[in-house]
């Protein structure tokens, strides 16, 4: 009996969400009284990452490597995981709710005919069955739901669990991966020229979001300066209005038709606070709002607010934070 965690890597390096998912899996495995098995698939260079899983609570690691797995390979991954599910009959299979996890989990669930819960923020066991909590309607409500069969397949929302060391001796077992290129119908490769330097808005520690109050895309240099001052874990976010206006790319949008986020610290700058935006960020631990309109709905959810001209406030705020950090 086991809980299986799919350990996500990119280009041979483990992603932080993989360790968060292992932490979530450890808690679930303990509640079920079963072992935690991490499955790590990727290029041969990923093998050196396997020892990390024992540190974060896995009892064993199944390592499947091939030179053909330098990029995400949904068909190979699905086939390998489905075979493991067939052999080991796990109680649950967990993924990170990342771009890769959200693409892969439905494929596996359909292959093994299992229920899938996306973007879960809590995992528990009640009367022997896996019960999850997850946001829906862009964060306007949360569902508590119980699986009606096994395995329970779930993707765990980034930052819902903090990767926590929970050291044990994990055995590492190599598994065969079938990568017959003739059997594959699709190829995947990473596009060159991706955005470097900042984390994804869903995975960031701090988010600096701008809205219509920024008055134009040219003023985003001010938000970038603030983000730089706040440090490497800071992402830029945007309201729907500014994404729809073409000021910012869609992958920065926070809210119901963007990303639902819950960072420790969220700055809403020049964002009035439409329902769909508030739903997407109201579980942030600390919210700071800067807006010229004292009546703006954003102040109803903000922990701290400054009413005033953001063009005067931002440079000073950036300076103060820079001083603090130096």
């Amino acid at each position: 009996m086991s809980v299986i965690v799919f350990a996500e890597q990119k280009g041979g390096a483990l992603r932080q969400v993989a360790l968060e998912t292992v932490t979530a899996g450890r808690g679930l495995a303990d509640a079920l009284g079963v072992d935690l098995v991490a499955v790590l698939l990727g290029p041969p260079s990923v093998a050196s990452e396997a020892e990390k899983f024992g540190r974060f609570g896995a009892d064993s690691v199944l390592l499947g490597t091939s030179d053909a797995l330098g990029e995400y390979a949904p068909e190979v991954y699905t086939g390998t995981l489905a075979k493991l599910v067939g052999e080991r009959a796990p109680k649950a299979v967990l993924f990170a709710a990342s771009a890769q996890g959200k693409d892969l989990a439905p494929r596996l669930a359909a292959r093994v005919k299992a229920g899938l819960a996306s973007d879960v923020t809590e995992l528990a066991v009640t009367d022997g069955r896996v019960v999850i909590v997850r946001p829906a309607y862009g964060g306007k409500v949360f569902f508590q739901a119980g699986f009606m069969g096994e395995p329970a397949v779930a993707s765990v929302r980034p930052r819902a669990y903090t990767a926590t060391e929970n050291s044990r001796e994990a055995s590492v077992e190599e598994i065969a991966v079938d990568v017959d290129p003739a059997a594959l119908r699709m190829t995947v490769h990473t596009a060159t020229g991706g955005k470097k330097g900042r984390p994804d808005v869903a995975e960031a520690e701090v988010i600096v979001s701008g809205g219509r109050g920024m008055q134009g895309p040219e003023h985003w240099t001010m938000l970038e300066a603030l983000a730089d001052a706040l440090g490497a874990g800071t992402a830029l976010g945007a309201s729907r209005a500014v994404v729809d206006a073409g000021w910012r790319p869609h992958d920065e949008q926070v809210g119901q038709t963007g990303k639902v986020v819950a960072p420790p610290l969220y700055f809403a700058v020049g964002i009035s606070g439409a329902i769909q935006h508030l739903a997407g960020m109201q579980t942030a631990k600390c919210i700071v709002a800067i807006n010229k309109d004292a009546e703006a709905p954003i102040f109803k959810v903000a922990d701290y607010g400054i009413v005033g001209d953001l063009f005067e406030i931002l440079p000073l705020l950036t300076d103060e934070i820079r001083k603090l950090r130096s």
Binding site: G115, G149, P264, T283, C286, G305
Partner: protein, 249 residues
Amino acid sequence: MNILVCVKRVPDSEGRIGVAGDGTSVDTQGVKFVLNPYDEFAVEEALKLKEAAGTGSVTVMTLGGDESKETLRTALAMGADQAVLLKGKPSSDGLGTAEKLAEGIRGREFDLVLFGKQAIDDDNLQVPAMVAELLELPCATVVIELKVDGRKLTAEREIEGGHEIVEFDLPGVVAAQKGLNEPRYASLKGIMAAKKKPLEEIEVGDAESRLEILQVMNPPQRSAGEIVGEGADAVPELVRKLREEAKVL
């Protein structure tokens, strides 16, 4: 080029959603229902591909009740040629719905099945890849750019900090992300024409749910915090509070 587009009727994103009296369902009273915003990108892409090919048809399909006809008509008004209503209730998780849709798709002639990347009600982001799996088709999800050259499809999908290029030969499945295109508005002429376009109804029964909703909860309620002050003068005090009270700096 024959394209199927799977769509869903959802509450508008501007609507207030709450917990219903029974505590296990969602209260959407007074909320306007619309074609799922991501599905608009899928319908638009289908119309563009058909126009570029100069031949073929676009069929929109949904699993739902009679009220979903309005949603299908919206897609027909945008320019889709015909609609199929699979009459039954969607499942709480994606797989049951995917099984009904796959059943509805099997046996039809198509080159491409398009979806919105997720419905903004249950936010599952599951059905497109599941339908692909059930129909044994290649699939690209969260697609922001799409090119079809003969039978070869190239899709660019959004990943953290960049993009991934997915390539496969048709037939296949693509799930549209915002940014793929600019959906057209239905013209008055389109709305009139939509009323006369064929809408096939098939009883398929309710989809099997593999998750049981035990409770629907409001998000943790936040109370308004404090206005630290007005203008740039308030900045030092804000930074002090963030560091000493909230301990987030």
